[in-house]
């Protein structure tokens, strides 16, 4: 008897909890707006993506402290796609169908973005993508707050060719083997050819994700550089492979004054834990550096340091900010502004409202979302690594420049429209 009643009460308790679970999203939906955060918190990309999750949470806290959006608080839903590209698609579907989020901030690698893209288009979701990428894509459901090739790769290579940058004549294009490095290098190859660089003066090399043995590659770079003419390396290595790459670079004594390496996916966060003294002078191109001096950036850094300390984040002892963090931060604020303007979280209304939004970014400029092409107008900086792991800005654009998602250096792109198809849908 006793046992049966126990089972009964257990069952009813379970039923109650299931009911309350089932109802809670509806109740919550009335006073909060759910916001999805889709970044790898484990696996090879965790080195880069974990802080984006944290900075997104910080921005959400900031917005909530000011009263939220449309009078409602934002409620973050954090998922971990674990550097596993198909899992990105699954998790994004879960965010939109189960959690019913109004918007998703996420992805780093282009392969993860390509993986979630069909899901966002099918469910008419909204994704803010915060990382520089290869272009060749425009979706009505995605806003790109990172750089297109003409906002990062092309200016960086122009700098290397210039007198200030050392007048490089030979180039090693080194990358991780996936869509972003392959496409970027295709664009760069065409660009270098237009600058009169011969085919024989370009060496292209790829390594798998998570590659950790760079001996052979560094030896090849040295050999290539020893064949005369000033050589520069353009690195699109992504994720934690950068740590062994830079360690090997330092140990093999390849100095920036001989063969400068310019990286497109290495920022302050990736260099944490690398001894940067042998790497002084190697370069990175971004739209933001932590070392930029302006009041907005000072406030941003202070806010991040305080947040990291309060939440006891792993890097709180040495809080670092970087470009994709800035882009995430900008993205969340642009979205919040657009929702206020649209007075709704409806995807189509918000998309219409995001166009033309502007925001005073920590990079020191007021960046603006293009009225049509879903990309930000951003300034470009080229920085050299300092002994303390920060970057000295050695070159910058005078102001924000417009993104060209369809690079003119890929054949056939001149016919493509500078706005997503099906916008009126």
């Amino acid at each position: 008897m006793k046992r049966r009643s126990l089972i009964k009460s257990a069952l009813s308790a379970a039923a109650l909890s299931i009911m309350s679970l089932a109802f809670s999203p509806i109740q919550a939906a009335e006073d909060t707006i759910k916001v999805g955060i889709l970044h790898s918190l484990s696996g090879t990309m965790a080195i880069s993506e974990t802080v984006l999750k944290d900075v997104a949470l910080m921005a959400i806290d900031e917005i909530n402290a000011k009263g939220g959006v449309l009078g409602k608080k934002l409620e973050p839903v954090v998922v971990d796609p674990a550097s596993n590209w198909p899992l990105f698609a699954e998790k994004s579907r879960q965010l939109m169908t189960q959690d019913k989020v109004a918007v998703v901030f996420g992805c780093w690698t282009s392969v993860s973005r390509k993986s979630v893209l069909p899901v966002f288009e099918e469910l008419n979701g909204l994704l803010f993508y915060p990382v520089q990428y290869e272009g060749e894509e425009l979706s009505k459901n995605v806003f790109y707050t990172g750089a297109a090739p003409n906002q990062q790769a092309i200016p960086a290579v122009e700098y290397l060719i210039s007198k200030e940058g050392g007048g490089a004549k030979r180039f090693v294009l080194l990358g991780t083997d996936y869509v972003y490095p392959r496409t970027t290098n295709k664009i760069l190859r065409a660009f270098l050819k237009s600058k009169g660089v011969a085919e024989a003066d370009i060496l292209e090399e790829y390594t798998p994700f998570g590659h950790s043995d760079y001996q052979t590659i560094i030896a090849r770079i040295k050999k290539f550089a020893a064949e005369g003419k000033k050589t520069a390396v353009i690195s699109t290595i992504n994720g934690d492979s950068n740590v062994p790459f830079y360690k090997e670079l330092g140990n093999q004594g390849l100095k920036a004054t001989d063969v400068p390496v310019v990286a497109f996916s290495v920022g302050e966060e990736e260099l944490r834990g690398v001894d940067t003294k042998p790497l002084v002078g190697h370069l990175a191109a971004w739209n933001y550096f932590m070392s930029l001096k302006n009041p907005t950036n000072d406030a941003f850094k202070k806010q991040w340091a305080a947040y990291a300390k309060a939440k006891k984040l792993p890097g709180a002892a040495k809080p670092l900010t970087n470009d994709p963090m800035e882009a995430t931060y900008i993205g969340i604020h642009l979205w919040a502004q657009a929702v206020e303007k649209a007075k709704s979280t409806d995807t189509d209304k918000v998309i219409a409202a995001v166009a033309g939004q502007s925001f005073a970014a920590p990079g020191g400029f007021t960046v603006q979302m293009d009225a049509k092409n879903h990309h930000l107008h951003k300034p470009v900086f080229v920085g050299e690594i300092r002994p303390d792991g920060q970057f000295n800005v050695v070159w910058k654009t005078s102001g924000p420049i417009k993104a060209q998602p369809w690079s003119p250096f890929i054949a056939g792109n001149d016919k493509k429209k500078d706005e997503p198809d099906g916008k009126s849908k």
Binding site: D80, K223, K293, E384, V393
Partner: protein, 577 residues
């Protein structure tokens, strides 16, 4: 095109230049007979900078009025314009002789600051700052001070200037570094400087480098015997830059041309030979280095899987635990004995061995012991455990990679040829792998414990009948295998990333090595590891890293098809038990 000058100081310089002459900065008079160096950027054959050494008499006179860096120069120094910066640097350097050294060194070390683009301050390590103009010492940098930034172009010029000055330093190491830098710009204007340095030089290595640099310059000269000697000297080097110089040898005189050409051809052949040798040695070394890593990773598995027959899917996680033990040791040493930080690996080795061995013994006692003879269940159980271990580490240390810093003595490398530098951390791992292998073989073949292990693995019932405590031997053997995995983790932390998924990348490789080498054979594991390492590095050299990985896997599949028992097979009645 930029231009800069510096007066070369002929008095020997002490290695602690940064403090020398701090107080009398700017007040120093002009030394007559100093030399001027001018640098031009040179776009053609050599990308570096061209040096023009001019007797200073005339030029110096024009700078005498500016013996002190004036406000105008200092504001130019603080500007964003590199041409202005270089111009100002050149003037300061020209007028202040070696007293400009503190400024130059500060500029190189990012320790030069400006306040309102007027005042120039040098920051010292103790936090004090010196005014470059007045020599006044400040207790700390003002808040408004901004760092003077340099880029690679300025850095190049700066390095050359410093090298030219330091060639007369007291410190042989400093002179060596200086001549290595000057070697990049073999311009005729350097000759007098080199000749003078050569007369005074006592260190054989520095002397040799100066002679080579001089030969690089003399190659372009007129005198045939001098040129022949230069060709001979260059023919003894292994630098591809010298090869290019020889290939581009200008020959104007028809009579001497044949002889010079022949000598140059011979020299080029010699250099090519050395370069090819360096390249092959480099590939073999990187192959052995990869092989030693594979060996370390697989050795523990060779004990647990090879000898005991336990399919331990958590082997990679034991490696990971070893790496994290290294990380924790590093943190503890940094916190409690920062002076001994460089020697933390000595403490980390036993720590990683013991931690991993402890986890291994627990694993064996709690789980694997109940599953002997049931390979499928063992496989599933250990795989589940591996997931648990990953999650546990993720919970304790976070999902992100942790930073394990190399101690100073493991950074850098030793130069064999100009195209072959062997990094210290890889040499250390190679030696360490050999040491671990030696210890394991010794333990298994020469100790009582090893005798028991072999007895139990060959015939368990008989060993038990003879009074061997098989359960204890099992636990200890598994602990040994796990401990070796821990050591591998400690070694891997020095070259790669340390994160919760560290082990996942090595488990497949480890099984590959053990299966290929032949189960139950330590010797087979060694051959398989080194063979795979060298082979994959050679393929990588021709086909790239992605294809190399695929090719190796294909080769192993084909090999195992033809010879399932691996390279070495255990002979005997109980081989299949």
């Amino acid at each position: 095109m930029f231009l800069r000058s510096v007066v070369l100081n002929r008095r020997p310089l002490s290695p602690t230049l940064s403090h020398e002459g701090r107080g009398r900065l700017g007040s120093a008079g002009i030394r007559s007979g100093g030399f001027m160096l001018r640098f031009f950027s040179w776009g053609s054959i050599r990308p570096a900078l061209r040096l023009t050494l001019v007797l200073s008499g005339v030029l110096l006179a024009s700078f005498t009025a500016q013996a002190k860096p004036d406000a105008g120069q200092l504001s130019a120094l603080a500007s964003d314009d590199n041409d202005r910066k270089i111009g100002a640097l050149q003037q300061i350097a020209a007028s202040a002789e070696s007293d400009a050294l503190p400024i130059l060194e500060a500029l190189q070390n990012d320790a030069l600051y400006t306040v309102d683009a007027k005042r120039v301050l040098i920051l010292h390590e103790n936090g004090e700052a010196t005014d470059a103009l007045t020599g006044e010492t400040l207790a700390a940098l003002p808040d408004t001070a901004e760092g003077v930034m340099i880029n690679n172009r300025v850095r190049n010029a700066l390095t050359l200037t410093l090298a030219a000055i330091r060639l007369s330093s007291d410190n042989a190491g400093m002179r060596l570094a200086a001549i290595e830098t000057l070697r990049n710009t073999p311009e005729p204007e350097l000759l007098p400087l080199l000749e003078r340095a050569l007369l005074k030089e006592t260190d054989a290595r520095v002397k040799n480098r100066i002679e080579i640099t001089r030969a690089m310059i003399q190659l372009q000269g007129e005198d045939k015997t001098v040129r022949l000697r230069a060709i001979r000297i260059l023919g003894e080097t292994s630098d591809p830059a010298n090869k290019q110089l020889l290939e581009a040898l200008p020959v104007s005189d028809a009579k001497s041309s044949a002889e010079l050409r022949a000598a140059a051809q011979q020299a080029i052949r010699d250099i090519n030979l050395r370069l090819a040798r360096g390249e092959i040695m480099g590939e073999v070394f990187s192959g052995l280095s990869l092989g030693s890593i594979l060996l370390l990773a697989a050795l523990g598995l060779a004990v647990t899987y090879g000898l005991m027959g336990v399919i331990n899917m958590a082997h990679g996680e034991l490696i990971m635990i070893g790496a994290y033990a290294t990380y924790v040791t590093q943190m503890l040493v940094r916190q409690y004995a920062p002076d001994w930080f460089d020697w933390y690996p000595l403490l980390a080795l036993p720590a990683s061995f013991l931690t991993a061995a402890l986890v291994g013994i627990l694993l064996e006692r709690l789980v694997i012991r109940h599953l002997y003879g049931r390979p499928l269940e063992t496989l599933l159980a250990t795989w589940g455990i591996s997931l648990m271990l990953i999650q546990a580490v993720r919970t304790i240390f976070g999902a992100q990679n942790v930073a394990v810093e190399n101690p100073a003595w493991l950074s850098g490398g030793i130069e064999i040829y100009s195209n072959l530098i062997l990094p210290y951390n890889r040499i250390a791992i190679l030696v360490f792998a050999a040491f671990v292998l030696f210890a394991v073989v010794l333990l298994l073949t020469r100790s009582r414990m090893g005798l028991f292990v072999r007895a139990v693995t060959q015939n368990r019932p008989m060993a038990r009948c003879m009074g061997v405590a098989t359960a204890r031997v099992d636990a200890l053997t598994f602990g040994l295998g796990a401990g070796i995995a821990g050591l591998a983790g400690c070694a891997l932390s020095q070259i790669g990333n340390v994160g919760p998924e560290l082990g996942q990348g090595y488990i497949v490789d480890s099984f590959m090595v053990v299966v290929l080498g032949g189960v139950g054979q330590i010797a087979g594991t060694v051959y398989a590891a080194l063979g795979l390492g060298v082979l994959s590095k050679f393929i990588e050299g021709y086909a790239g890293a992605v294809l190399a990985k695929i090719a190796i896997l294909l080769m192993i599949i084909v090999f195992i098809q033809k010879r399932p028992q691996g390279i070495f097979a255990l002979k005997g009645r109980f081989a299949d038990a």
